[in-house]
């Protein structure tokens, strides 16, 4: 009996015909083209190199440097909006992988990624580290540090994937990739098989093995999924880089970029290829916590009350350095607060007899419900900077071009972006959308786990979402105070 017939198929909530981006005239044809990824990566690589050069050699003032303007305004905004509107297309066009692929022509990795690290603990930790460094050193205000951050990304990708096989960097290391994976669980598009029937009769499994040369099995003509996602058993976007290797490898043209209900993958709990059960992955819950509470923390670092808290903590801890104060704030936001909130909700769910699960498994199971809220807050934050600084790329590019003797006119420094008063309703809309998304996921999880009394699950976990949402709204209405140096005015 084949493996395909022994593993239960992923649950599909809606069996109606699905939109397929690969069937859209121009876009679909481009994406089906074998070199579409490389062609998409090349412009980003060029921009990345320009950002590094300008960051290291250009003006030290962040608003006038391509490294800081593009990284902290445009890149983050476009990334979040693309994930909201479509899917994980940044990983698709990731320039780090273009460099890695080129390097692999010279360096053949020999080892498999260590078994003990085949989880999200390391990458979730690196995610926290990036957030911490961002706050501690005020990365947004330093083109030089931003340039080195980009270099560090390129370097780490090269080292990890130069030593370890497959896409170890993407799956187990890259903090940005983990952000994209978590966020794209609420995207409307996913890479998925068009017809499960066709996969049942497939005996080559090229989508994961890759297409091999008929005369020599060792020669790979087209790579299969490097992230160990076997298409017929793949569910949703977690760990999917949209590289489209599976699309090119499938000999039956049975893989597409299909529409689905956003956040659908957070509701179901089948065994997932390359991932297992969501409900058994504590490391994924850690990632979800960092993703969601990190969104609040990242926004909190930009509003006035944070400085009051910092001064109070500095006095309490008898310190003058920023690191211990910031570490305490991070500990509260990313460890204490989530444990208290999610732990209390799981405990109440147990007491109400809403779930037979133990405390930690219950926390893991329902923690996925807060992902839409977290993404809503990231959208609100990144969307704010993107929209309010939308046009700044024009004068910065003019200025950068002028510095190497190219003239695109006098820089229009007053070209800034959309006025804040118009952006705030958009921010509010994002967090409201996230809140309703979280409530929907909570309700579906409650219906599935406790069909007789869904409210026993829904109420405690909806209360968690409500608290996070209220905190998000409070943050949005706080006065902005963008300061790179902490404790300076104390």
């Amino acid at each position: 009996m084949s493996q395909a017939s022994t593993i239960p198929e992923p649950e599909v909530l809606d069996s109606s015909p699905r939109f397929d981006l690969l069937h859209v005239p121009v876009v679909g044809r481009f994406l089906r083209w074998r070199h579409a990824r490389s062609v998409s990566q090349i412009p980003l690589l060029i921009i990345g190199v320009l950002m590094i050069l300008h960051g290291l050699l250009g003006p030290s003032l962040a608003p006038k440097n391509l490294a800081t303007v593009l990284t902290w305004l445009h890149f983050r905004g476009v990334l979040a909006l693309t994930i909201l509107a479509a899917g994980n297309f940044f990983c698709f066009a990731c320039p780090f992988m273009l460099v890695r692929n080129a390097a692999r022509k010279f360096f053949r990795p020999r080892w498999n990624w260590p078994r003990a690290l085949r989880n999200k603990w390391l990458s979730a930790g690196l995610f926290v580290l990036i957030l911490f460094i961002y706050e501690l050193y005020g990365l947004w205000a330093s083109p030089w540090l931003t340039a080195w951050l980009i270099i560090a990304y390129f370097g780490t990708a090269l080292i990890v994937d130069g030593v370890f096989k497959h896409a170890s960097f993407c799956k187990f290391v890259c903090p940005l990739g983990q952000f994209n994976f978590a966020a794209s669980t609420v995207s409307p598009l996913e890479v998925a098989v068009r017809d499960q029937q066709i996969c049942r009769t497939c005996d080559t499994k090229d989508c994961i093995r890759g297409q091999r040369k008929p005369s020599s099995e060792l020669v790979v003509l087209q790579r299969g999924c490097e992230l160990a996602l076997f298409q017929p058993r793949k569910v949703g976007n977690m760990d999917c880089t949209f590289c489209l290797d599976c699309v090119h490898a499938c000999p039956r043209d049975n893989v597409g970029i299909l529409s689905r209900m956003p956040a659908e993958e957070l509701i179901t709990d089948p065994i997932r290829s390359g991932i297992g059960f969501f409900s058994r992955r504590k490391d994924l819950t850690a990632l979800v916590i960092v993703f969601t509470f990190g969104a609040l923390l990242n926004a909190f670092g930009m509003v006035s009350p944070v400085y009051v808290v910092e001064r109070w903590l500095a006095k309490l801890l008898h310190v003058t350095q920023a690191a211990p104060v910031l570490g305490t704030i991070f500990g509260f936001f990313l460890i204490i607060e989530p444990i208290v909130l999610l732990g209390a909700a799981a405990w109440i769910t147990q007491k109400l007899k809403g779930t037979p699960r133990a405390l930690i498994p219950a926390m893991v199971r329902y923690s996925y419900s807060i992902v839409p809220l977290g993404f809503g807050m990231w959208l609100a934050h990144y969307g704010f900077h993107f929209l309010t600084g939308l046009f700044t790329i024009v004068p910065v590019t003019q200025s950068a071009a002028a510095s190497i003797g190219l003239s695109f006119g006098h820089p229009h420094w007053l070209w800034v972006g959309v006025p804040m008063r118009f952006v705030q309703p958009v921010q509010l809309g994002f967090v409201i959308l996230g809140f309703f998304g979280s409530l929907l996921v909570t309700r579906r999880l409650a219906d599935e786990d406790c069909p007789e009394h869904p409210m026993r699950v829904f109420i405690p976990w909806a209360a968690v979402s409500l608290m996070i949402w209220l905190a998000s709204v409070w943050l949005i209405f706080q006065p902005m105070e963008m300061r790179a140096t902490m404790l300076m005015s104390s």
Binding site: I52, L56, L57, L61, A62, P63, K64, N65, T68, V69, W72, L73, A103, F106, F107, R108, P109, R110, G138, W140, A141, W144, A147, I151, G155, L158, I159, G162, V163, S304, Y307, H385, T388, G389, T392, W413, L414, V416, G417, P479, M480, E481, M482, R483, A484, T485, M488, S489
Partner: protein, 141 residues
């Protein structure tokens, strides 16, 4: 059987990657740190900003411009205020000479946080000079 030996043995992929990265980092570091400072005798001194501490709203900037201790009169000075965070609206204004070599101007800082004030100076002989005042922690009004 003929055996061949390479000095140091065969380099592994990690060594190759690290060597390449080290070389790249060295080049970048060298280029990034190679900018030299100005040796011009022209000086911007006695830079002041009021009110102090600085609050959101109108602030007055004053400074002294000299060359080898001689005040420079007749310079054209424009002021620019930028937040350290990219994407925020800058503020522009002109400064005027209020005494020989002494210049003063006002800017409106519209947001709390860290600001950098740039002094764009065109000297009477046509040379351009730029100076900067870091204003940390502008407070709400």
């Amino acid at each position: 059987m003929k055996l061949s030996f390479r000095r140091g043995g065969r380099r592994g992929p990690l060594t190759k990657v690290l060597s390449a990265l080290l070389m790249f980092s060295g080049i970048v570091w060298r280029v990034a740190c190679s900018r030299s400072g100005s040796t011009s005798p022209t000086r911007v001194t006695d830079k002041k900003i009021s009110p102090n501490p600085v609050h959101v709203g109108r602030v007055t900037i004053s400074f002294h411009l000299s060359d080898a201790a001689e005040p420079i009169s007749g310079a054209q000075v424009s002021l620019e205020g930028d937040m350290t965070h990219p994407g925020m609206a800058p503020a522009f204004a002109d400064a005027h000479e209020v005494a020989p070599g002494q210049y003063q101007g006002s800017l409106t800082l519209n947001m709390p946080g860290d600001w950098v004030l740039l002094l764009h100076i065109r000297l009477p002989d046509g040379r351009k000079l730029e100076d900067q005042i870091d204003v940390r922690g502008v407070q709400s009004s």
